[in-house]
């Protein structure tokens, strides 16, 4: 397996830019997840890596080899499509063996490789079936098997779990994670689901409108989001973000959320900042704290989501462990540790 490097990569469809100045380095054996809302360019970036689209400007390297002029077939990159793209007239074994057949491997060698791949993906019993006779999860495994059969340098996965139901998605996520560890393969994975990104990735690349917003490990993105977009995108329910006026009367700028709570906003320019609090970092208190009125309560069993309006923000959410007795219309207070606040400047970047 090999690493990948993208330098100043741009892609335009006609005059319309879809990928803007992407610099990214993916290490050998790393699992990197591209995540972002639909239309952010994550799938296009994957297709550029695969060679299914040409880059407009910039450089793309596979290991030590410049690859942006290489044909897709010459890159030795395999891809699992969202639709699986299994050949409907071929059996499972023929699907998996297809790239090997094209590579003109001897028949015995193909059978051997297909059997090995089938075993690692538990597909042996299905070898003689056609894709139409398989369930969604089985098709998914066949697609992965076909991609792995020829030992590609890099494995690309384009929203591979989005056609599966919730239970199966969880199972396949674990399976993919296991597979990645077992193969130590370089993988690039595209999803719009931040939970998939958080659970699978060694590193996450968050994209918006063709630009990379932040690259980091899941926990870095969670605990130190680079801007408001990343802060709101990672985490579920999403971070409560509200704007607050700066008070410069005491010299250093501070924001006042209640009579007792004043937060230092050192380095902030202008008259306002954005403050963010994750729902899971809000602890209910009887007196004091940030006060609000409960507008709705959702019981999830393991925890309770409390929706509230307050002086500093409307439509806030707090996540309380376990089953809470809070009722709609109640006046409620929350305590938040000072280090759990995220402050962003007026332009959205982290302070």
């Amino acid at each position: 397996m090999t690493g990948l490097t993208l330098k100043q990569v741009n892609k335009k469809f006609g005059e319309f830019p879809v990928i803007h100045e992407v610099d990214l380095s993916i290490d050998s054996g790393e699992l990197v997840v591209f995540v972002g809302p639909s239309g952010c360019g994550k799938s296009t970036l994957l297709r550029l890596i695969a060679g299914l689209e040409d880059i407009t400007s910039g450089e793309f390297w596979i290991g030590g080899q410049r690859a942006d002029q290489l044909l897709a077939a010459a890159r030795n990159i395999a891809m699992v499509f969202q639709s699986y793209a299994l050949y409907p007239h071929m059996t499972v074994a023929e699907n998996i063996g297809f790239p090997l057949k094209l590579a003109k491997l001897p028949r015995a060698r193909i059978a051997e490789k297909v059997a090995a791949v089938g075993e690692s993906l538990r597909l042996g019993a299905l070898f003689d079936r056609k894709p139409g006779q398989l369930s969604g999860g089985q098709r998914q495994r066949v697609a992965i098997g076909r991609a792995l059969a020829r030992d590609p340098k890099v494995l690309l996965l384009d929203e591979p779990l989005s056609n599966l139901d919730a239970a199966l998605r969880l199972e396949m996520r674990m399976e993919l994670s296991r597979l990645h560890k077992q193969l130590a393969a370089t993988m690039v994975y595209v999803t719009h689901d931040q939970v998939e990104a958080m659970t699978l990735a060694d590193r996450i690349v968050i994209m918006r409108e063709g630009k990379v917003e932040q690259v980091g490990t899941p926990l870095e993105l969670y605990s130190r989001p680079a801007n408001v977009f990343v802060a709101e995108f990672i985490g579920s329910p999403k971070m409560n973000v509200f704007s607050a006026d700066l008070d410069r009367s005491g010299g250093n700028p501070v924001i006042r959320l209640s009579e007792q709570t004043a937060l230092s906003a050192e380095g902030a320019a202008g008259s306002r900042v954005f403050a963010g609090i994750r729902p899971e970092h809000m602890t209910p208190v009887d007196d004091g704290g940030l006060r609000g009125v409960v507008t709705a309560v959702e019981h999830l069993g393991a925890d309770t989501l409390v929706h509230f309006d307050s002086a500093f923000m409307e439509g806030g959410i707090a996540r309380i462990n376990g089953i809470s007795g809070v009722r709609t219309g109640e006046n409620i207070g929350f305590q938040v540790a000072a280090e759990q606040y995220h402050l962003f400047s007026e332009n959205g970047n982290r302070l």
């Binding site: 891809m79 969202q82 094209l102 020829r150």
Partner: protein, 295 residues
């Protein structure tokens, strides 16, 4: 009201249509079968009950002109249908590419199909014309032909020229069916094959061809049945001539029954043609069934 069973209701609802079908198809068919065993002749009414047994069929099978009309028909079917399939698939592959003016070209390709057969036949008769025909003009002007010839007047070329006119009119049907099938192929399959290392030919052979083979074989059988029955284009262009060189089985039946007015013998020819058509239709149904199973 008493409760009628579902089956009874179904029979009541089907009855009007069945009466019509029996009236316009069933009765004439039975009458044709009846005539085929008689010496019926249009101008002598008393012949219609002269029972002759299998004589008509034995005569028909022994008739050299009928056998040569079968030969003509087979040539017409094989030549026109294979050219239509080849041309249709190639044109469909072309029209499935993205290029400027594709929509216009797709519309233009359908035009020959929309033309009535008689109009098509008259048009090609003009094109082939021995005195002022466009084909002669074109071929002599580019130097491929020394002097004007009578394409439809020459027994060695007439049937081929009629078949060419038929190909021009009917290949768009094959193109249309193939194009529809091509559009069901997902881009993902082609891209997956590309990443699997398939070149253009391998992508066609392993991805495109399996997706179009069933619809194209349906087109093949449909066109074969139609071509086997060919009548109108021949009636307008050559009337079976010159020297019976374009006489097909349908034309032979028509002449026997309506030109020579030998209804009994004509009926036996017609039944032989029906049997051959039935065999082709059986193949068609089998293919449809197979396509249903793979879909």
């Amino acid at each position: 009201m008493t409760q009628m069973s579902k089956t009874t209701v179904a029979w009541y609802l089907l009855a009007p249509m069945m009466i019509i079908i029996v009236g316009v198809a069933g009765y004439p068919l039975i009458k044709t079968v009846y005539f085929s065993f008689t010496a019926a002749h249009l101008v002598s009414p008393d012949t219609s009950d002269q029972w002759v047994g299998l004589t008509n069929f034995l005569k028909a099978l022994g008739n050299a002109k009928f056998r040569s009309s079968i030969g003509n028909t087979v040539y017409f079917v094989v030549f026109s249908v294979s050219a239509e399939i080849l041309l249709g698939v190639l044109v469909a592959l072309l029209l499935n590419q993205e290029f400027h003016g594709r929509t216009l070209l797709r519309a233009l390709v359908i035009l020959p199909l929309a033309l009535p057969t008689v109009v098509n036949a008259m048009m090609w008769r003009l094109i082939y014309g021995p005195d002022f025909g466009a084909l002669n003009a074109l071929l002599t002007q580019v130097g491929l032909l020394a002097e004007y010839r009578s394409w439809l007047g020459d027994p060695s070329s007439a049937l081929t020229m009629v078949a060419l006119a038929d190909i021009w009119k009917n290949f768009p049907l094959v193109a249309l069916i193939t194009l529809a099938a091509l559009q069901t192929i997902s881009r993902d399959h082609l891209e997956a094959a590309l990443l699997d290392g398939a070149n253009a030919w391998q992508r066609f052979w392993h991805v495109v061809f399996p997706a179009i083979v069933a619809p194209v074989s349906v087109a093949l059988v449909l066109r074969t049945i139609e071509a086997f029955k060919v009548f109108d284009i021949i009636y307008v262009m050559t009337r079976g001539g010159p020297a019976s060189s374009t006489k097909t089985v349908s034309f032979h039946v028509y002449q026997e029954a309506f030109a020579y007015m030998r209804v009994g013998s004509g009926a036996s020819y017609a039944l032989i043609v029906v049997l051959i058509s039935a065999a082709l239709i059986a193949v068609y149904l089998k293919l449809l069934q197979r396509q249903g199973e793979t879909a």
